[in-house]
């Protein structure tokens, strides 16, 4: 039969027919998986950003408008990553530089848990991440399932 990959076990060993077809299928699977993971990361990143903005204090005025979601990039460990945060500095190059001047404003606002806000709260990004951890994992799982050949 042509077009089908078959594995046959015989007394003298294992035979695989249509190896080219199998290889092509696996290549396509790898491409599809990469596309789906990138798509999933973008969706989760966007949702995380939207949820964290809802929790961001407004008493200082402009922080809500400073949220960002980076492009998907490959980190130092070789894994795909997406950065979600406030005050974009250095994300364009694939790394968030915590020493950048503007970040000094977002970090204290996020970390000062002893400060009360009329609207919003400290830990606005961390809380959103923690609340939606399971949904994000589920969503990524769904995307990976869609990539199956």
């Amino acid at each position: 039969m042509t077009g089908l990959t078959t594995v046959t076990k015989k007394d003298t060993g294992m035979y695989i027919a249509n190896v080219e077809g199998l290889t092509a299928k696996l290549d396509r699977y790898a491409d599809d998986m990469l596309d789906k993971v990138i798509q999933g990361l973008k969706e989760c990143g966007g949702e995380l950003s939207a949820e964290s903005v809802k929790l961001t204090p407004v008493d200082v005025g402009e922080m809500r408008s400073r949220s960002f979601v980076s492009d998907v990039y490959v980190n130092e460990s070789g894994n795909l990553e997406i950065a979600v945060g406030f005050e974009r500095h250095g994300v364009e190059t694939g790394t968030v530089n915590p020493k950048s001047k503007g970040v000094l404003y977002a970090v204290p606002l996020h970390e000062r848990t002893n400060v009360r806000h009329k609207v919003g709260q400290a830990k606005f990004l961390e809380t959103a991440r923690n609340n939606f951890e399971r949904e994000f994992l589920q969503s990524m799982r769904e995307y990976c399932r869609e990539a199956k050949p």
């Binding site: 970090v107 204290p108 970390e111 848990t113 002893n114 923690n130 951890e133």
Partner: protein, 130 residues
């Protein structure tokens, strides 16, 4: 007792005086353990009558000190006392892990009732039996 109480016990043993969920703004040098929620619990359904729940609370340590050098010493003591703990009973609660999730942040200078002070934040995550 909450995670804050348990961590306060460890800090007291290490010689660090800390308040739970309260940062004294009338003095320059203070340490506070702020309970910051955490991750949703893990439930393991081990049988028809048993469900084991692991809570995953997080907490934050806020350090105020007028001297940056002293603040660093206090931070080192706190990290040594709390980070990388595993499979340990603290105040009768069994913790699978206590670990630092973010290194110390310098949050800048802050005005207190007694004058200007340096503020630092360190975050921790835990996992414990309910």
């Amino acid at each position: 007792m909450s995670v804050g109480d348990d961590m306060k016990t460890l800090l007291t043993t290490a010689g660090v005086t800390a308040n739970k969920n309260y940062l004294d703004m009338s003095v320059q040098n203070a340490v506070a353990i702020m309970e910051t929620g955490g991750f949703s619990p893990i439930k393991c359904h081990g049988g028809h009558a048993t469900t084991v729940t692991f809570d995953r609370p997080s907490f934050q340590i806020l350090v105020h000190n007028a001297s940056k050098a002293t603040a660093n010493t206090v931070i080192d003591t706190i990290i040594t006392a709390l980070d990388n703990r595993a499979n340990e009973t603290i105040n009768g609660h069994f913790y699978q892990s206590v670990r630092m999730s973010t290194p110390p942040y310098y949050l800048g200078l802050l005005q207190t009732g007694a004058g200007e002070t340096n503020e630092y934040s360190i975050n921790f995550v835990t996992q414990k039996n309910r």
